[in-house]
């Protein structure tokens, strides 16, 4: 249902766009026949028409918010988008609002009669539709890679670029350039626990020190017996060279974003890492927490005396923000002439949904990511424009 509504709203905006461009084209033609050789006028008209289309707000339907990027951020972004496009009424109880049977997480802080997208959009001055499956504007999330998402937001192809690594590393830009051109919205945190094959875990390797993992990933330790396991070679699973996951692992674990590595395979996707760890009985790998499953075990890591355990009830856990392998999940927006603050009202309305207790619980924790502490949520909200 939500998909249909997205398509519908999309079709509307595309039709509008076609109309606009047709009108511009016709005007251009008229100008051409009347005053031949005056090309500059026509091209100005063209760009104005396009701006008008994306910037319209309030009275007529605004353009779809588009996002693209990292497969790690995708579950959060996509679930948020699906909820948004469904525009469930407050009486739903399961996806939004509350009824006799149930109510959504964090509802006591919201408590409204409006539908989900209507509520968040109206905070930024958009008109509510009041109809299920017809949000004030649609959202659409595409799946690719962190680098692709950053490039897409840089080139203005999408509104929001999802990235699991910092944009400075993805696009190879300085921090000044980042601050000048992008706003970094952190919506959640991803732990990158280290996993081993079940057989290795069963043989007694339940905990490694940071030093040992560094040794394994830099080729100094090649046999499990060196770290208290069985006499078996280690199958070291790395991630695609230069990807967000690879960069942050090098940075957090090996100490430097371009630290050398010596691995046996490099895999592009979390699912592949999961599969390879299940298929082999001597593998070690790291991947997003969301992909833990049977046949593989997350291990505890001892970082300079503090042991971070995969158990949520332990004193220090791999879910803590202090855990060195945790990384921020970013949604970048672009600063340009129309939006000097970097985030326009549509984007702010959508992003703000993730920065509520409801959003953190539903879109971050429920897909196995780590929620932001309250102080971080406050800081993230500061980056959004004033609410209406």
């Amino acid at each position: 249902m939500s998909r249909d509504s997205g398509r519908q709203a999309d079709a509307v905006s595309r039709r509008k766009y076609l109309l606009t461009s047709a009108a511009v084209g016709a005007a251009g033609l008229a100008g051409c026949s009347g005053n031949s050789g005056d090309g500059s006028d026509g091209s100005d008209g063209g760009s104005e028409g396009e701006e008008g289309n994306t910037m319209e707000s309030g009275s007529s339907a605004p353009a779809t918010v588009t996002a693209e990027g990292s497969s790690t951020v995708y579950p959060i972004s996509n679930k948020g988008s699906s909820y948004w496009n469904s525009n469930s009424p407050a009486s739903d109880g399961e996806y939004w609002g509350s009824n006799d049977e149930s109510s959504v997480a964090g509802w006591d802080q919201i408590d409204t009669d409006q539908n989900i997208a209507d509520y968040f959009a109206s905070l930024y001055g958009f008109e509510a539709t009041g109809e299920r499956s017809n949000p004030p504007f649609a959202t659409r999330v595409a799946l690719s890679h962190s680098g692709t998402g950053c490039e897409a937001v840089r080139d203005g192809l999408v509104d929001i670029g999802n990235s699991s690594g910092p944009i400075t590393a993805e696009l190879d830009i300085s921090e000044e350039e980042r601050d000048e051109n992008y706003v970094d919205h952190v919506v959640g945190r991803d732990g990158q626990p280290v996993f081993v094959s079940q057989a290795i875990y069963d043989a007694g390797v339940e905990q490694l020190t940071g030093e040992q993992i560094r040794g394994i990933y830099q080729g100094d330790i090649t046999n499990w017996s060196e770290v208290g396991g069985p006499d078996q070679e280690i199958y070291v699973v790395g991630r695609a060279e230069g990807s967000g996951t690879d960069t942050s692992f090098r940075l957090n674990m090996l100490g430097d974003a371009d630290a050398p590595m010596d691995v046996d395979t490099r895999l592009g996707q979390n699912q592949q890492v999961q599969q390879v760890l299940q298929d082999n009985d001597n593998a070690i790998g790291y991947m997003a927490l969301a992909f833990s499953g049977s046949g593989i075990q997350a291990i505890a890591i001892d970082f300079e005396g503090t042991v971070y355990r995969p158990d949520p009830d332990a004193e220090n856990t791999i879910f803590d923000s202090e855990y060195p392998l945790n990384r921020d999940l970013h949604m970048y927006t672009r600063i340009n002439e129309e939006t000097p603050e970097g985030t326009d009202m549509r984007e702010a309305a959508f992003l703000n949904m993730f920065l509520t207790e409801f959003g953190q619980k539903t879109f971050v924790e429920d897909v196995n990511y780590i929620t932001l502490p309250t102080s971080d949520i406050e800081a993230e909200r500061e980056k959004l424009p004033e609410q209406a």
Binding site: S146, D172, E241, T265, Q272, Q275
Partner: protein, 374 residues
């Protein structure tokens, strides 16, 4: 013909001019005008497209209108012009792609400049050392490991696809009874229709884990099994092209052989196969081209670390091929790294070009030797 080359050249130009003149005189001026407008506006649309001009739609519209009008009024002439234009479009597309790949790879070639005998040659560093590391120092972009991987996979794939393919083609064309042929041929064509990711997925989930256990390997990526899988994928190409070549050998040649008392098998090996040799080798070369370009299965099954196996011919390593390098890296690469992926594309392009020219050459030579078979 005692004309000197220069007058010969002039005469040919003159002949051309007169012929054009005659053609223009003979043709309806309106038809000529329509064709000129149509082709001119197509050219203008192309220029507009290259300049990314918002006005591209105008000449394109003019082209459609002129062609539509011409099609109704002067179909034969317009059809000639349109078919010619479409052929040109294909060639221009190829040209643009080649230019783009080469232009994009320039930074990598510049980065990997190496000096030989005091002359610095851009790109030489990709072939004189074997280190590829796009992240940690020293950052180098050697393509040798990937070229090695591609050669390994392609060789093994050819060893699988060529004998199996030619044998299957011979069976279908010469030996099988019609009912069997009707059944086997579509079967092979269906094999060609299976998407390559399906092979790759089976390789990744079934063959790799099995190989890891069966050969006591650390991880299951091997050139051996990737090569075999890719060979199976190239098989349908080899079979159908080779089968066409074998069936196109004229019956009179075989009849002659049989009439002299040769057995079926003798006729096949001494008449049919040699006569169709050019077509059969073209089939194998097409299969090789398919194997070189195969991406999905290699990407999914190989380990993805650019290294050269030791010893060189050890097929129980499976590191990386040129295509899988691009497929694995395109999402996260930027700057020189991205450009180096284009350089891998350039190497692939040049290789496939050489193969294609090679197969054309073999075909031309065989045709000359056999005196115009086919």
């Amino acid at each position: 013909m005692s004309l000197t080359p220069q007058t010969d050249w002039r005469a040919s130009i003159e002949r051309r001019l007169t012929r054009t003149q005659e053609f223009v005189d003979d043709t309806d001026p309106e038809a000529l005008a329509v064709v000129l407008v149509s082709m001119g506006s197509l050219l203008a649309a192309f220029v507009g497209f290259l300049l990314a001009s918002p006005w591209t739609a105008v000449p394109l519209g003019a082209f459609l209108i002129a062609t539509g009008y011409g099609w109704a009024r002067h179909q034969a002439l317009v059809a000639r012009a349109v078919t010619f234009a479409m052929t040109t479009v294909t060639l221009v597309t190829l040209g643009l792609i080649v230019a783009f790949i080469f232009a994009e790879s320039i930074p990598a070639f510049q980065y990997e400049t190496a000096t030989v005998f005091g002359v610095s040659v851009p790109g030489l560093g990709m072939f004189t050392q074997a280190r590829w590391d796009a992240v940690s120092e020293p950052v180098r972009y050697s393509l040798l490991p990937m070229i090695h991987g591609t050669v390994m996979v392609t060789t093994i794939a050819t060893l699988v696809a060529a004998p199996l393919g030619v044998a299957a083609a011979l069976f279908i064309a010469e030996i099988a009874p019609p009912q069997v042929r009707e059944l086997v041929k579509p079967g092979i064509e269906i094999l060609a229709g299976i998407p390559s990711i399906v092979y790759g997925f089976i390789g990744f989930t079934v063959i790799n884990p099995w190989a890891s256990g069966a050969f006591d390997l650390n991880g299951g990526s091997t050139y051996l099994f990737v090569g075999m899988v890719v060979g199976l994928m190239a098989l349908p190409t080899v079979v159908s092209v080779a089968e066409d070549a074998l069936t196109s050998v004229p019956d009179v040649m075989k009849d002659g052989s049989l009439a002299l008392g040769a057995t079926d098998w003798q006729s096949m090996t001494s008449i049919t196969l040699p006569a169709a040799f050019s077509g059969v080798s073209a089939a194998v070369l097409l299969g090789v081209g398919r194997a070189i370009g195969e991406t999905m299965a290699a990407t999914v099954m190989l380990a993805g670390i650019p290294r050269i196996s030791e010893p060189l011919v050890n097929v129980f390593y499976g590191y990386e091929t040129l295509t899988s390098l691009i497929a694995r890296g395109y999402g996260s690469a930027n700057g020189v790294h991205e450009s180096a992926l284009f350089a891998a594309g350039v190497v692939l392009f040049v290789t496939v070009l050489c193969l294609s020219i090679g197969s054309q050459y073999i075909e031309a030579r065989m045709r000359r030797r056999l005196g115009g078979v086919e």
